[in-house]
């Protein structure tokens, strides 16, 4: 054991270096992706013109006089994500309440693993199910809604609504899991105090538990937005893929599916514009993450106050 101290020192140093390298991998990855996206995405902005690209509504990249307007695509991503959140979040939160507060232990022991399994299902499976089950159903609905219409273009059920439903289901596990843990983290004395004051169980849940768990639930919502915005595979199969205004029964294209479906044969400026589409998506995701960071930072303050 001679020189034990020196050996110890060396081991310590090596361990520190290894940790540093590991940490650096993530930072280097984020930095290089950022640099790459801006480098590849900005030239087309200059060539096409910011206004024409971001606010143009005609997407005809291979026409004789090509047009690269991606406004409808951006709007589709925003509208699709927003509505999916509006549908998915209430269901998610109520499920979380059910698991933590309402159901008996046996039932919760079934529901919670089911939710976790939902998170593990690959997105392409959601897409396939949407394609085989949801789209035919949607087509029937579409035929009924637009019966006799001469102006509506029939899409065969591949439309914004199908995509929204798939997205809403896909964000459920994210919202549920995070909400469950944040509701469980609400201090027991709050619940006891509320019940002791004569509030019913349901009143306690909605007036005390959920407000107290709010920042955690918000985190789940924001992560859900991130997932919905970034999903490509599943909605590529169900959304139809024509560039249209995001109306429920229109065939639409999202930022993600735009890249997925056209990258393989795109050339020249068309290809560059697809990178710009990627950049727009990247910026959206960045904004979502900044919002998330903001939401998390507020958390300790609120706990202090009570």
């Amino acid at each position: 054991m001679t020189g034990g101290k020196a050996t110890k020192h060396i081991v310590e140093t090596i361990a520190k270096v290894i940790f540093l390298i590991c940490a650096a991998v993530a930072i280097v990855a984020v930095l290089s992706i950022t640099v790459y996206m801006f480098a590849k995405g900005t030239p087309a902005l200059a060539k096409v013109g910011v206004i024409d690209l971001l606010f143009g509504t005609v997407w005809q990249p291979t026409a004789a006089t090509p047009s690269y307007g991606i406004l409808y695509i951006i709007l589709t991503s925003i509208a699709g994500t927003a509505v999916a959140i509006l549908i998915g979040v209430p269901i998610g939160i109520l499920t979380a309440v059910f698991i933590t507060e309402v159901s008996n232990k046996k039932l919760a022991a079934i529901v919670q693993p089911a939710v976790e399994l939902l998170a593990a299902i690959p997105s392409v499976i959601y897409g396939l199910l949407g394609l085989m089950v949801l789209n035919p159903l949607m087509y029937r609905l579409e035929k009924r809604v637009f019966a006799g219409s001469t102006t509506h273009q029939f899409t065969g059920g591949s439309n914004l609504l199908s995509a929204i439903i798939v997205l809403a289901i896909m964000i459920l596990p994210t919202v549920i899991n995070i909400s469950v843990s944040s509701i469980r983290a609400v201090p027991g004395h709050l619940k006891s105090a509320s019940l002791a004051l004569g509030a019913t169980h349901i009143q306690t849940i909605f007036k005390v538990m959920i407000p107290a768990a709010r920042s955690g639930i918000m985190t789940g919502v924001v992560l859900g937005i991130g997932r919905a915005l970034g999903e490509a595979m599943a909605i590529n199969l169900v959304a139809g893929g024509s560039v249209n205004l995001p109306l429920p029964f229109n065939s639409v294209r999202f930022l993600t599916t735009q890249i997925v479906s056209e990258m393989s044969y795109a050339e020249g400026l068309h290809r560059e514009v697809l990178f710009t589409v990627g950049l727009v998506l990247f910026i959206f995701i960045m904004i979502i993450n900044l919002v998330l960071a903001q939401a998390r930072r507020k958390e300790p303050l609120k706990n202090d106050r009570k």
């Binding site: 930095l31 950022t34 640099v35 790459y36 801006f38 480098a39 590849k40 900005t42 030239p43 997407w59 005809q60 990249p61 291979t62 026409a63 004789a64 394609l131 085989m132 789209n135 035919p136 087509y139 035929k143 001469t150 273009q153 029939f154 899409t155 065969g156 059920g157 591949s158 590529n236 139809g240 893929g241 024509s242 560039v243 065939s251 294209r253 997925v260 479906s261 056209e262 393989s264 044969y265 795109a266 050339e267 068309h270």
Partner: protein, 303 residues
């Protein structure tokens, strides 16, 4: 904490901007390559004696032209260079007319055109060598009773003027117009042949042949187009102007949704360099014909 974050963000933006600047400058060098290639071809022409052994032949074969022929040209070049490792075959995809122009100007050996050559081009001494034929089948779901469609009606279906099968003698069923994404060779060919370029109103734009097949098979009232070689029993292949989409009808020239893939040369093939002759020999060999089939094209009648 906040300060650090701000600093990080500033750093990030700064690096990004610098990188963007650097990347912006580093493109466009392909033109220079094309010029360099021409010189070598000229000087290499005499370099080789008569021999069919691939390893002896060296030099270059340059192609330019149709973007629709990208798949074929790349696959052919790859297979060709496997047999003739010392010959470099390179292709650029500038468009059919641009390819023929480059050929006329003598800057490439072979001009690719995905259409028949015009008389004007032929009068310039450009020889039309049809190496393959691209055929497209128009498909519907099997329940559809419409089996025959006039080409002008088909064009109207795709531009959105006809929206119900009953207008075409079929059931009262809405037409779901399915096509491929922008940039697809099949879409390019279909729109060009139907003369509906950029005026198509698609209900769905899918990104693979398989997806179009599956979607058309599963959607009542759907119509789509795929390359002829993938046509199967899950869908109906529509007759166009009463002509069945078959290889025979395409070879006979009766089926309209077809176009020739031309590898044009300046003067007959026999007047070309050894490398270019070897290239055409390769296309006509069993290996070359396999390449043509593997990219879903039809082999033209013996020539």
């Amino acid at each position: 904490m906040k300060n650090k974050l701000v600093k990080m963000m500033a750093l990030l933006t700064a690096t990004t901007m610098v990188a963007a600047g650097v990347m912006g400058c580093g493109s466009d060098s392909s033109d220079a390559n094309a010029d360099a290639n021409t010189d070598t071809t000229a000087s290499d022409t005499t370099a080789n004696a008569d021999t069919t052994d691939g390893s002896d032949l060296s030099g270059t074969v340059t192609l330019a032209g149709s973007t629709s022929m990208e798949k074929l040209a790349n696959a052919m070049n790859e297979a060709f260079m496997e047999k003739y490792p010392n010959v470099s075959a390179t292709a650029e995809f500038t468009g059919s007319s641009a390819g023929i122009e480059s050929l006329e100007a003598g800057s490439v050996d072979i001009g690719d055109a995905s259409r028949a050559l015009s008389d004007d081009e032929k009068s310039q001494g450009v020889v039309e060598n049809i190496v393959a034929i691209d055929g497209i089948a128009v498909i519907t779901d099997t329940a559809n009773t419409v089996t025959d469609i006039k080409s002008e009606d088909l064009a109207k279906v795709y531009t959105g003027e006809i929206t119900n099968w009953k207008d075409l003698g079929g059931p009262d069923e809405q037409i779901v117009v399915i096509g491929r994404e922008a940039g697809s060779g099949t879409r390019d060919a279909f729109e060009e042949l139907m003369d509906v370029k950029d005026s198509c109103k698609y209900a769905q734009e899918l990104d693979s042949t398989g997806a179009v097949l599956a979607k058309v098979a599963a959607t009542p009232g759907a119509v789509g187009y795929v390359s002829l070689d993938v046509l199967d029993d899950t869908v109906n292949g529509l007759k166009i102007n009463s002509v069945e989409p078959t290889e025979d009808n395409i070879l006979a020239g009766d089926y309209v949704l077809q176009r020739p893939f031309v590898m044009a040369t300046k003067g007959e093939i026999s007047e070309q360099s050894k490398q270019v002759q070897a290239y055409f020999d390769f296309i006509n060999s069993a290996d070359g014909q396999n390449v043509i089939k593997s990219v879903g094209l039809i082999i033209p009648n013996s020539k």
